[in-house]
Symmetry: C2
Subunit: 308 residues, 2 copies
């Protein structure tokens, strides 16, 4: 199975309003809830691709209970660790007139030292059955900034390949612990390395410790700097839609390609096609299987002459 870790899971709430006007009162016409957080999204896409997936991280309080109830009928197996605090909610307010979204994200519960210890013990056990592990998203309050570095070291000791998808200091510290793969976007890569040239920045991130760097470049597709070479993959045309969850779908594409031992060009093509099929799907964070299958053969992958 593939394990995904979401330390700061979320109950994603979507409100539809006729039009959002600051400082006014609004009747919400439609309310939708789904289990959220990057690793949960990744696991759902992996499951749709036919992989057994297990999700871990933390869930607690009334929002955590709702999240677990919503997760129960879905394919990913729930191995979330209980916390005493309330799982954060994210509220996406969709303006029905324009389709634009205003996002409100709660900070998340403070995780205690005992809860972190319980997680580490569960994580060690889960690694025993994992073909690969993805560490996804932000850290909740109370978790030390080197937490991902610690999880990476433990996975490497257990011989399980690690993909890290986070930003800021947790990404910097994580890379120093030498993960197999990091998937920053252009902004995260620039913040890490100080360079806005994706090629230069990806090389820099590899020098800092990442075995492989796959940078997501938005509408321009993805760039992979690997020990076997350098590739760039681009969608057939600029896709228009809701980019929510596109990065998570790309992570699922990369992880499934890793486990299936696909060559790099195929892994990248899958990640780019999944990402584009997510942008094109009507609901945020979903992807349409037929759109994905249509797009896959149209993704153009170029090998760069420069050795990585």
């Amino acid at each position: 199975m593939i394990l995904t870790v979401t330390l700061n899971t979320a109950l994603d709430i979507t409100y539809r309003v006729p039009a959002l006007t600051p400082h006014a009162s609004h009747r919400v016409t439609d309310v939708a809830e789904r289990p959220g957080g990057k690793g949960l999204n990744v696991a759902r896409v992996l499951a749709a691709l036919g992989h057994d997936t297990v999700v871990t991280g933390f869930a607690g309080g009334p929002s955590g209970a709702v999240l677990r109830d919503l997760l129960a009928p879905l394919a990913p197996v729930d191995a979330l660790v209980p916390v005493s605090g309330n799982t954060r909610r994210t509220v996406a307010v969709v303006d029905a007139a324009t389709g634009d979204t205003t996002q409100l994200n709660e900070p998340g519960p403070t995780v205690t030292a005992d809860e972190w210890a319980a997680f580490l013990s569960s994580y060690a056990e889960l690694l025993g059955g994992a073909e690969a592990v993805a560490l996804c998203g932000s850290l909740p309050p109370g978790i030390h900034v080197g937490a991902y570095a610690e999880l990476i070291r433990r996975a490497r000791t257990a011989g399980v390949p690690v993909l890290l998808d986070t930003s800021g200091e947790p990404l910097r510290r994580g890379i120093a612990a030498r993960p197999g793969l990091v998937k920053p976007n252009a902004d995260e890569l620039a913040q890490l390395t100080g360079s806005r040239d994706p090629l230069r920045a990806a090389h820099d991130a590899r020098r800092r410790g990442a075995h492989t760097v796959v940078a997501s470049l938005g509408a321009d597709g993805m760039l992979a700097a690997t020990p076997e070479g350098l590739w760039q993959a681009a969608p057939p045309a600029r896709v228009k839609g809701n980019p929510t969850g596109a990065g998570d779908s790309a992570v699922a594409g990369l992880l499934s390609g890793l486990v299936e031992q696909l060559p790099w060009p195929e892994r990248l093509a899958r990640a780019v096609a999944l990402s584009a099929a997510t942008v094109l799907a009507p609901a945020a964070g979903e992807f349409d299987v037929r759109t994905y299958e249509d797009l896959l053969p149209q993704v153009e992958v170029t090998a760069h002459a420069t050795a990585a």
Copy 2:
């Protein structure tokens, strides 16, 4: 005891954000939750004034469970009737820079015929021990528009005085069932009668069936059209602050004055002072007892020459 009915209770959530920008993503810096809905607010103020209070209406789902947990340690007694749907949430997004609030209100759960029947049976029992009853706020989906009229008739049959605080068609139908007291604001009164002259509109509302009409006129105070005469009460000075809950505090003032059999000028003075003390309180819907006691002797009550 005094009974308050809130058919569409709410879990009131307050989010503080540095500044609200439409179509952007926001980190919520502070999250607060409280049990809400007009009747619950009225009951809390009544309890602070020393009255035994019981709250009824509906609560259900995860949000209903949180609401009841938050209500449990407070003074009002919980006699809410369970529903299968999820109690609505209201989200108040407070802009820390300006103090302005953007409000998002969920519609509320659909109440089934069986749930309404269960409520009516509980209501009949509660009326047996009630000195007065307040019917407060909007109707949730599934409840027929004549619901308040039905509750008023049942209270009259039981000999329990009724205060009705709602708007639109439920107010119109409710008034026709001859409640003891209605407390519309200027807009609700204008919508009901077609007149923006509060005196003329209050007389009209009495002709439609309301025994007594107390109109809240915002910063201008309140106007009471009663069988015993006509009074107007005004706060000592224009008060500045958050008007959330001010109308509910006024209802509590009127109800407590009714039960204590105060003369009309004293009832009105209490309602106006409580309302102003709520506007001046730092947290929405709270009131400061010392501010209330300071304001009370300063409220100016004028008897109108015109007979009501």
